[in-house]
């Protein structure tokens, strides 16, 4: 194996050698430089693989032939090998990426480039403090040089600021080092660590200076204006190096040197890291410049790792994995993003929509962003999960909370960016500035994207509860993604449905015997297949649709089949990501998908937070831990409940839903409404079953929340003019019922809940499919622009009517089962007033049911709809399959409800309902025989119809306008279709209840955060001197907080 010292020799020799060429042979020089970098990568790579094999042990490299501490020594161990490999790889790919730029800049720039990478290698390997200083300086100067690659005025300014800042801190570092030498008599890092430098006051000051400077090298918030300017002004290729390679090396150094300051100093490093992570991401929310935004994000991510480094004593054996996962994730994703930025060459993130013209880059971009936020299957997901678990297990709840807040803040700007990229208009001349003709620019980006996925896969063995089977559906989705651009939607639809059916078949045995899981699994999978069928009505390729839909369903399936919190959370995040991509496909969905994502991410972090307590309780990821929470159970359960309620869109957390569901594509709405929302219900059920006595208060509060959600949702639906938004609000209301029902925690309540879950799944699928199809056919969302369609679409009308009768809970259809169970449950539970609110909501539901039926199917047919035909069978077939389901449930409710009843009794929710053999259900309060009701009503209907026909006889159909209308005969359908503001009277009376108070509440919150961020970022005044002053202030404040006592 080639000695690591050759990395230095090779790089320096090559750098000096390039000097021979002067200004000539530039192309050759670039190739030489790349060859050198490749050789360096190979050297560290062979070491790394040898260490992973276990065929070598840690090597100490002595220079000058003397043993340390008398001479400088380097170390090559597993960690050093890994870090140098990352750095060299980024160097190699970064050099490849910068090929043209470096060639233009000349041989000097290439020398600087290779020296920079070399210095980072030495920084990682050296065990001598002063040697570390020298190579840190080399790195700084080389960076200052590379900043100038583009020779712009801004870059010059940034470079000067950078030099001033690094100059000041390196002087202080030198003072620290020389005094450390004075106290210990040695410059060897291991010797200094062994010597208890921090034991004396002065020794502590020396150690403080060393550590604080190394922290400052990582640009901690808020003393980091100089770093941000570099990110903004430098060539993105250089930004990638600064963020990925230099940041990585600096982290390693901090880790190496930190023990000098002693155990007691670690918490301050944690604080520094967390403040940086939260602060930088928060301030970043105001940023629109892509490179500067990446700077904020880089600084934040590095801050997170700094915090992890400070947490080393706490994290124990997981430390290395967590730190490495976060670093590798940051390196790969951030380098990739910077490189994309260099290809896109658009300063403002709102212009990044041009990415859509390059699908490969767009997918890479999305992979990087989702990796940064910590979505599966990327390494940061694994790292963050384990980090939060360990933090809460070790009682560092505040730290965990702040880390999650910081992650959320990062999401705020990252998803705005994604939204811009996916939805903004592409300007006509936008592609002109693109610089992706050269393979050497694009290839590194794609490599990073592949690498970050691979790194996620490699993380599996390190996290408790992670199985490689979670990647199987992902592999299928990747396959669909690969064929996505070539095949028409029909083929992909068939493949997707087949894939889902097979997956269902394979996965079902895992949950067989668990009825609760089976029900939800059935809803997700059968619902998934049924909601995919309307896709046959769509034409074209529908690029991106199938990967997204399958991602969502894969996530849903994983949630159900997982036996541990990790798997659950893995599925939860997959589902969130998939549904986000589905929702954002709608024409006007950008803002709605954004708010959906923010609520989802916040909810997911709350869930993760709550899972931490479960992990704490049993020391593993198993779901059983949820029932064992002893540490702050109320906090944990509340966090989990709120987290799940972001998905069920309960009152206060619902504002994303109407837009997200209403504006989604016609076949996406049933997926995200009828199917997806049940994931939140499943989560809540799981939670409630485990809360035990700790949950009494929470359940009581949630009962009220559910009741008001139902009222608010239904009332808002009544006042909607937009057909799909009406259905969306209706979903909020229905989910409110469900929340209320399961909050009762009784057999009857839960039975009602399950009835609602099943009914809502069926009727909302039908409604969204059919109404979605009608919206597409008529070309309008507005109910008052439709009308009279019963004559054109009788089958659609019957489907909607059945669904609406079910929703309204009228006997004899299955909706009444829910109502009946509800009444019984409410009285037995004693939640009377809440119950009345829910029943009031129920009667209101009746109103929008009528409004929708009337406005779409009755009244006046519009002139431009005269040529409409019945909806496509692709929509009607799944709708009628679901109607068959409703009918079965209505006629034989006991077939469905009796097993569930037995399940609930076995769950100790009480035995309060008995079933007779003839289908009569009895509680202590009441009885109901669904079977008999159906027989009687059908018979009566038949007899009455017969009677009516007898006395009426054969009729002839009237013309459309053949009505008396204020003594005039109308001639325009528009003037005679009563639909707009239909319930004006109700609105006048109680419309104030649904004044958009909650929306404005959240608007105010977001404005406040934004204003705060805008205020804080004023500290980045742009003045290099001020930045230097801020560094000094930072040191002073840090000193007086940490050592002031």
């Amino acid at each position: 194996m080639v000695g690591p010292i050759y990395i230095i020799a090779l790089a320096l020799g090559l750098a000096f050698f390039l000097g021979f060429f002067g200004k000539s042979a530039k192309t050759l020089s670039v190739y030489l430089m790349l060859a050198g970098l490749a050789a360096m990568t190979c050297i560290s790579g062979t070491w790394l693989s040898a260490f992973i094999d276990g065929s070598v042990s840690t090597q100490e490299i002595y220079t000058a032939g003397f043993k340390p501490p008398y001479s400088i020594n380097l170390r090559m161990g597993l960690e050093e090998a890994a870090f140098t490999f990352i750095i060299n790889l980024i160097g190699l790919l970064g050099g490849t990426y910068l090929f043209q730029t470096l060639k233009k800049a000349g041989n000097a720039a290439m020398s600087v480039f290779i020296i920079l990478i070399m210095s980072l290698n030495v920084i990682v390997m050296t065990r001598d403090l002063f040697n570390l200083f020298v190579f840190v300086e080399i790195g700084s100067i080389a960076t200052a040089g590379l900043i100038l690659l583009d020779k712009e005025s801004k870059a010059l300014q940034a470079g000067l600021k950078y030099m001033i800042a690094t100059g000041v801190i390196s002087g202080l570092l030198l003072i620290g080092i020389i005094f450390a030498y004075s106290f210990v008599g040695n410059l060897n890092i291991d010797a200094i660590i062994g010597a208890n430098l921090a034991g004396t006051t002065a020794g502590m000051v020396a150690a403080f200076l060393i550590v604080v400077v190394l922290v400052l090298e990582l640009k901690p918030f808020p003393a980091n204006g100089w770093g941000l300017d570099v990110y903004e002004a430098a060539n993105p290729g250089v930004g990638a190096l600064v963020s990925a390679a230099i940041g990585t090396a600096s982290l390693f150094v901090l880790h190496k040197v930190l023990p000098m300051a002693g155990e007691s100093f670690y918490p301050y490093i944690v604080a520094v890291g967390v403040i940086t992570f939260v602060g930088s991401n928060l301030v970043g929310t105001q940023q629109k410049n892509a490179n500067r935004l990446l700077g904020y994000s880089s600084i934040g991510q590095l801050g997170l790792v700094v915090a992890v480094i400070g947490l080393e004593p706490v994290l124990g054996t997981s430390f290395k994995f967590i730190a490495f996962a976060l670093i590798i994730n940051h390196v790969l994703a951030k380098a990739g993003l910077f490189w994309i930025s260099g290809i896109i060459r658009k300063a403002n993130i709102s212009e990044w929509s041009v990415l859509r013209t390059k699908p490969a880059l767009l997918i890479s971009f999305l992979i990087f962003i989702f990796a940064l936020i910590g979505f599966p299957p990327f390494p940061s997901f694994f790292g963050k999960y384990q980090l939060i678990m360990n933090l809460i297990s070790s009682d560092n709840i505040g730290t965990a909370a702040f880390i999650l807040i910081g992650s959320f803040a990062e999401g705020i700007y990252m998803f705005r960016w994604v939204g811009d990229a996916l939805k903004n208009e592409v300007a006509e001349d936008a592609t002109e500035s693109l610089d992706c003709g050269k393979l050497n620019k694009v290839l590194p980006v794609l490599l990073m994207a592949v690498a970050v996925v691979a790194a996620g896969y490699l993380s599996i063995p390190f996290v408790d509860g992670a199985y490689s089977t979670y990647f199987i559906p992902l592999a299928f989705i990747m396959f669909i993604g690969l064929i996505d651009s070539f095949l028409p939607a029909v083929v992909k639809n068939v493949v997707s449905i087949a894939g889902m059916a097979y997956f269902t078949y394979v996965m079902y045995p895992i949950i067989e015997g668990d009825l609760m899981r089976s029900i939800f699994f059935g809803i997700f999978m059968i619902g998934g297949i049924l909601t995919l069928i309307p896709g046959f009505a769509k034409k074209g390729k529908r690029e991106g649709f199938y990967p997204a839909a399958l991602l969502m369903y894969a996530g849903l399936a994983t949630i159900i089949t997982a036996d541990n919190t990790f798997g659950f959370f893995f599925g939860w995040e997959l589902m969130t990501a998939g549904s986000y991509f589905l929702i954002i496909r709608g024409k006007r969905s950008k803002a709605h998908a954004y708010s959906y994502m923010l609520f989802s991410v916040a909810g997911a972090y709350l869930i993760l937070f709550g899972f931490g307590f479960a992990y704490q309780a049993i020391g593993s990821s198993l779901l059983e831990g949820l029932g064992e929470i002893k540490l702050l159970p109320t906090l944990a359960y509340t966090a989990l409940a709120i987290g799940f309620m972001t998905k069920t869109a309960s009152l206060g957390l619902h504002i994303w839903l109407p837009g997200a569901h209403g504006e989604a594509e016609s076949d996406v709405s049933p997926m995200v409404s009828a199917v997806l929302l049940k994931a939140g219900v499943f989560g809540l059920m799981l939670l409630f079953l485990n809360m035990g006595d700790n949950g009494e208060t929470i359940l009581y509060v949630l009962g009220w929340v559910g009741a008001f959600t139902a009222l608010m949702g239904n009332l808002s639906a009544t006042f909607q003019e937009d057909a799909k938004r009406m259905l969306a609000y209706s979903s909020i209301g229905q989910l409110g019922y469900i929340l209320f029902a399961i909050s009762m925690m009784t057999t009857l309540g839960w039975l009602a809940g399950f009835t609602y879950v099943l009914n809502h799944f069926m009727f909302k699928s039908i409604l969204f499919m059919v109404v979605g199809g009608i919206v597409v056919a008529t070309g309008t969302h507005d109910l008052y622009r439709m009308g009279g369609l019963i004559k054109k679409m009788p089958l659609a009308f019957i489907a909607v009517m059945v669904a609406m009768i079910t929703m309204a809970g009228l006997p004899p259809l299955s909706g009444f089962a829910g109502k009946w169970l509800f009444y019984n449950a409410v009285i037995l539970k004693g939640w009377y007033i809440q119950g009345v609110i829910v029943f009031f909501a129920g009667t209101i539901a009746f109103m929008y049911a009528y409004k929708m039926l009337h406005s779409i199917f009755f009244g006046q047919l519009k002139d431009n709809h005269r040529n409409l035909k019945e909806l496509s069978p692709a929509i009607l077939i799944p709708a009628y399959i679901l109607i068959a389901g409703i009918m079965y449930f209505s006629v034989f409710p006991q077939d469905v409800l009796q097993p569930i009843n037995e399940l609930l009794v076995s769950l100790n929710l009480g035995d309060t309902l008995t079933w007779a053999a003839d289908g009569n259900a009895t509680t202590v309060l009441s009885n109901w025989n669904g079977n008999a009701v159906m027989i009687i009503i059908v018979t009566t209907f038949a007899l009455v119809l017969l009677y009516t026909m007898l006395i009426t006889g054969k009729t002839k159909k009237l013309e459309q306008f053949n009505i008396a209308y204020s003594a005039e005969r109308p001639f325009r359908p528009e003037t005679t279709h009563y639909s707009h503001n239909m319930f004006a009277g109700l609105n006048k009376a109680i419309g104030f209840l649904v004044a958009p108070g909650i929306t404005s509440f959240w608007n105010n919150v977001s404005t406040m955060v934004m204003d705060f961020a805008g205020m804080v970022r004023r500290i980045y005044s742009g003045n290099g001197q001020v930045y230097a002053g801020q560094i000094i202030v930072y040191i002073i404040v840090f000193y007086f907080i940490a050592l002031g006592k």
Binding site: F846, H854, D918
Partner: protein, 305 residues
């Protein structure tokens, strides 16, 4: 579960009695109203004449399938309500098909006819029909609140939703009637009844006199006869519902007739005294006083439970 033909015929007989009693009651009230206004009014047999005439008129015209089926829905709603409620307390013959459900079923089945009717009238394409329906639904929603509160209060009080059990609890003297044992719930319930009966002041839905608004306006001849039949039935059934809940039910046909007349009379009498309200006012009114009374009733019932 008795689905025998005998049972069916007994129910049919009950239905026939109720239909005629409903028509008689309606003509009585019309006469009472006329006298109050200083007119003579229609003869007592007028409803029968009207019904016969309407049935005899064969229509040729329809706006569509739903228009045709709307009255059917409506009548099924009325008949169904009748069938799901026992007529005479303690009588197996006159228990109808009340075994299939109880108060909850009845409360929800009320809407069945309404929805069908609403759709049928909508199918006529006349905006006036839908205007009337929208008002009716709004008012119905508001009325349901005190109604639900009253029902819940009674259910708490008697710990049952079963008609038989509720009536049973009220046997043994006038003072055992809910109106005396639970006056607050009864007040809320009776106030709700005023709305449910759609008489003045809560009859903007039909508003028969001033403007041609509301579902019945759209129907003529035999369709109207179906609706008339239903309205006769439903008035009695509604009154019987309140009788069963608050006035001890009926253990003989005589009591049935007396008590339903009395309940029905209350609603008509109020209508004669108060002028019609706008729909937003009636919504506000129902959500204010009757609801407040109902909430207190529930709280009191829950307290005494």
């Amino acid at each position: 579960m008795d689905y025998s033909i005998t049972k069916f015929l007994w129910s049919l007989l009950g239905l026939f009695i109720i239909l005629n009693w409903g028509m008689l009651m309606s003509s009585t009230m019309r006469r009472v109203g006329a006298r109050l206004a200083g007119r003579i009014g229609v003869p007592m047999y007028q409803p029968w004449i009207d019904l016969a005439k309407l049935m005899a008129l064969k229509t040729w015209l329809s706006h569509g399938v739903m228009y045709y089926i709307g009255p059917v829905f409506r009548l099924v709603g009325g008949v169904g309500m009748f069938l799901f409620m026992p007529i005479i307390f303690g009588s197996e013959i006159w228990s109808n098909y009340s075994f299939s459900g109880d108060l909850i079923l009845l409360l929800y089945f009320q809407s069945f006819g309404m929805l069908g009717m609403a759709m049928g009238a909508s199918d006529s394409s006349s905006p006036h029909a839908s205007i009337g329906i929208s008002r009716g639904l709004a008012q119905f929603a508001a009325v349901e609140v005190p109604m639900t509160l009253a029902v819940i209060a009674i259910a708490i009080q008697h710990q049952t939703f079963s008609f038989n059990s509720i009536m049973e609890a009220q046997q043994g003297g006038v003072l055992n009637w809910t109106i005396f044992t639970n006056p607050l719930a009864s007040i809320a319930g009776m106030l709700a009844m005023l709305g449910a009966m759609s008489h003045s002041p809560f009859n903007l839905v039909k508003a028969p006199n001033e403007i041609p608004i509301g579902p019945p306006t759209e129907y003529h001849s035999s369709f109207l006869s179906v609706l008339r039949t239903n309205s006769a039935i439903i008035h009695v059934v509604e009154a019987a519902l309140f009788m069963n809940l608050f006035f001890g039910g009926a253990d003989t046909w005589l009591m049935y007739i007396v008590k339903t007349f009395f309940v029905y009379f209350i609603s008509v009498f109020v209508g004669m005294v108060f002028p019609r309200m706008k729909v937003e006012d009636s919504v506000r009114w129902f959500l204010k006083w009757p609801t407040a009374v109902g909430i207190i009733a529930v709280l009191v019932a829950a307290y005494w439970k």
